[in-house]
């Protein structure tokens, strides 16, 4: 089982979580993409543990919408990714680290934003 294969499942699971805008590819991956190489599972890093071949650690780099409570979204990502990857691949997911890289404004969420300022 390759890293990209696991990363695809993890990326899909992370994107399903409410409040996640996208995943940020790392600098090296972005370069690779520019060079025309298709990288599977952007914004997710998968590391197989050294001693046992069927346990992995996953790091997710999400962009989260402004107005969401980041810890809650992050915990949801962790649970979702762990559950999905274990279900689909049968691997043992050791850790899921979440590193929130950016926060962007969500256009569709602006009405409730104004509500806040009027309080």
């Amino acid at each position: 089982m390759t890293q990209g294969f696991v990363a695809q499942y993890a990326a899909e699971a992370a994107l399903q979580v409410d409040g996640v805008a996208s995943l940020v590819p790392s600098f090296a991956v972005a370069l690779k993409e520019k060079a025309g190489v298709v990288h599977e599972g952007k914004g997710v890093r998968v590391i197989f543990s050294e001693d046992s071949s069927d346990s992995v650690s996953i790091t997710v780099y999400p962009v989260i919408f402004y107005g969401k409570i980041i810890p809650e979204v992050a915990w949801e990502i962790q649970e979702h990714v762990k559950e999905d990857v274990e279900k689909f691949t049968g691997l043992d997911v050791e850790t899921v680290d979440v590193y929130v890289t950016r926060v962007i404004e969500d256009e569709s969420k602006s009405p409730s934003d104004e509500e806040e300022t009027n309080i």
């Binding site: 980041i70 810890p71 929130v100 890289t101 404004e105």
Partner: protein, 184 residues
């Protein structure tokens, strides 16, 4: 990209410090310049020139050490570790916190035209936020800026769970133009 520049600066100042140490070493061992930099050897032996030589070298050494120290100590944090759950850790990047600060500053409707935010670390895992803002001309700076400070502090604490120690706002410029400030 900011982080990349910082790394570059760090490398440069380390190289500069090493270079000045090597050149200062010439006072101890005059044979250093014998084979590679023979024109410089006269500077070390000549008493008048050697003073200038020493001062210049010490200046470079001190400034590079100071810049290394400031890069390490007062440097911008890259991420803050929130909490370790049983699944893994949750980190929030400095960019993310900065964009929360910017978004909340703009949505405070206090006449901010544009702003830049910087996050640095404080004691006990808390953070400090510095905002550099360009305002419209019809803004009452003290009252509206205190509103902005409150909102930024409240928003960051709510959205990230990180304690904000202080929020400093610096008004760098005032632009002509009329802001749509709600009268409350």
């Amino acid at each position: 990209m900011n982080g990349f520049l910082r790394v570059l600066m760090f490398i440069y100042s380390v190289v500069l410090a090493l270079l000045s140490i090597i050149l200062l070493y010439a006072f101890v061992d005059e044979g250093l310049f014998a084979d590679m930099l023979s024109p410089l050897a006269s500077m070390v032996t000549d008493p008048a020139k050697s003073k200038i030589y020493a001062v210049v070298n010490i200046f470079f050494l001190v400034t590079s050490v100071a810049s290394i120290a400031s890069l390490i100590i007062s440097g911008r944090i890259y991420k803050t570790k929130l909490r370790k759950t049983e699944i893994g850790s949750v980190d929030i990047g400095a960019d993310a916190i900065e964009s929360i600060a910017l978004n909340s500053a703009k949505s405070a409707q206090a006449g901010i035209k544009s702003a830049k935010a910087r996050v640095s670390s404080a004691k006990n895992g808390a953070i400090k936020v510095a905002v550099n803002a360009v305002l419209y001309s019809n803004v009452e700076i003290p009252s509206s800026m205190s509103k902005v400070q409150e909102k930024i502090k409240k928003d960051i604490e709510r959205y990230t769970g990180i304690v904000v120690e202080n929020v400093s706002v610096k008004v760098s410029r005032v632009e002509p133009g009329v802001a749509k400030v709600e009268s409350r």
